[in-house]
């Protein structure tokens, strides 16, 4: 019985004190009768067997357990209170963290915008620097194309004037390209009659050097390397390489007659 009691008590200790309290109270229920009986038996001093002592011991044990439980319950209450306080603390900290998070996000957004705009600005600065031309050069060029009436008609221009905003038939033929291709002089090569007429009206001076033929080109000025290959996509495949310049004329390699 003692073993059973000790087992039971250990089992009870492991459970929360709230549950345990009813058990302690009901097993066995200490009522007035029992206490009176015990008091009576003590005053009688009768050796009533071990039963009374057992019951007494049981009672004392119960009381002890009860006290223990109350103590534990009190401790648990304290712990619970502490827990609540800490939970409130944790909540507060959580709020703070969230606030900081929001602020961080905002700051990051603002900085990202600023960085992006700065990058755009840098890009536009680069672009502007790349395209910078000296104003003198621009003025020189503007003067060149205006003085020659290439972009603005001469003020006394009337229909019938042979001057044009593009190189005329005569100018084209008297250029380098014109001389490279040995053009036969029969017919007007597809130019409209008006143009050829205008060209024919002018006296045929000895190959005038027109400024549009770059006689003043600097030595360092070269076209980007192209390798003469404008054929189909696979470069090494075809051999037709002479069609890029001789557009105005027949293929120079095939023309046998050189007479003008």
């Amino acid at each position: 019985m003692a073993v059973r009691l000790s087992l039971a008590s250990t089992w009870r200790a492991a459970r929360p004190s709230k549950e345990m309290l009813p058990h302690t109270m009901t097993d066995p229920p200490p009522n007035r009768e029992l206490i009176e009986m015990l008091a009576l038996s003590r005053s009688q001093k009768l050796p009533q067997g071990g039963e009374d002592t057992q019951i007494l011991e049981l009672l004392v044990q119960r009381d002890r357990e009860f006290q223990e439980l109350m103590r534990v319950a009190q401790e648990q209450g304290k712990v619970h209170q502490e827990m609540q306080v800490l939970e409130k603390e944790v909540e507060k900290r959580d709020c703070d963290i969230q606030q900081l998070q929001k602020q961080l996000k905002e700051a990051e957004h603002i900085l990202a915008t600023a960085v992006y705009q700065a990058k755009e600005k840098l890009k536009s600065i680069d672009k502007a620097r790349k395209g910078s031309i000296s104003s003198e050069e621009i003025i020189k060029y503007a003067h060149r194309i205006s003085a020659s009436n290439a972009v603005c008609a001469p003020l006394n221009w009337v229909p019938g004037d042979p001057r044009r905003p593009y190189p005329t038939d005569l100018e084209m033929r008297s250029g380098m390209l014109g001389h490279m291709s040995n053009l036969p002089t029969n017919g007007v090569n597809g130019h409209l009659p008006g143009d050829a007429l205008a060209a024919g009206r002018l006296p045929d001076v000895l190959t005038p050097q027109y400024p549009w033929q770059s006689s003043d080109v600097s030595v360092g000025m070269l076209p980007p390397h192209h390798g003469n290959d404008f054929g189909l996509e696979p470069p090494g495949h075809n051999k037709e390489n002479e069609d890029d310049v001789e557009a105005m004329s027949t293929d120079s390699s095939s023309s046998s007659s050189d007479s003008d």
Binding site: A150, C152, P165, M172, L192, V217, G231
Partner: protein, 133 residues
């Protein structure tokens, strides 16, 4: 050494010929000529036109005397434009518009001069009235 010099000479020649050729493109009659002979249909020629776009860069463009050619070059990149150029009417229309545009600034200048002359006349008139009295 001779080989290197030759290629420089070649490069200079090709620069000059390309300069001349691209400016010829400003002439709508010439464009019509090219179209009618079928050059504008050939792929190598179209590739060449695309290659010629380098003349738009400022360091090359400063050699062009007839800047209209750059606009024509841009238009020539489009197949539709190249197809339309076969018609003589199309070329004539372009020619007319080009000439009108060419005369735009001189017209504007004459109008400004006229306006200025009228303004001066108006200014003189009240003075004339005042002195007549």
């Amino acid at each position: 050494m001779a080989g290197v010099m030759e290629s420089e000479e070649q490069a200079r020649n090709s620069f000059q010929s390309e300069l001349e050729f691209i400016q010829c493109l400003a002439n709508p009659n010439y464009l019509n000529f090219l179209a009618q002979r079928g050059y504008l249909r050939e792929k190598p020629f179209v590739n060449y036109l695309k290659y010629l776009l380098y003349w738009k860069e400022p360091e090359y463009a400063k050699f062009l005397k007839y800047p209209h050619c750059l606009h024509m070059l841009e238009l020539l990149q489009y197949e539709h434009f190249r197809k339309e150029l076969v018609n003589a009417q199309c070329a004539k229309f372009i020619d007319e518009q080009q000439l009108l545009h060419w005369q735009h600034y001189s017209r504007k200048r004459t109008r400004l001069q006229q306006a200025l002359a009228e303004q001066q006349q108006q200014q003189q008139l009240p003075h004339g009235n005042a002195t007549a009295k």
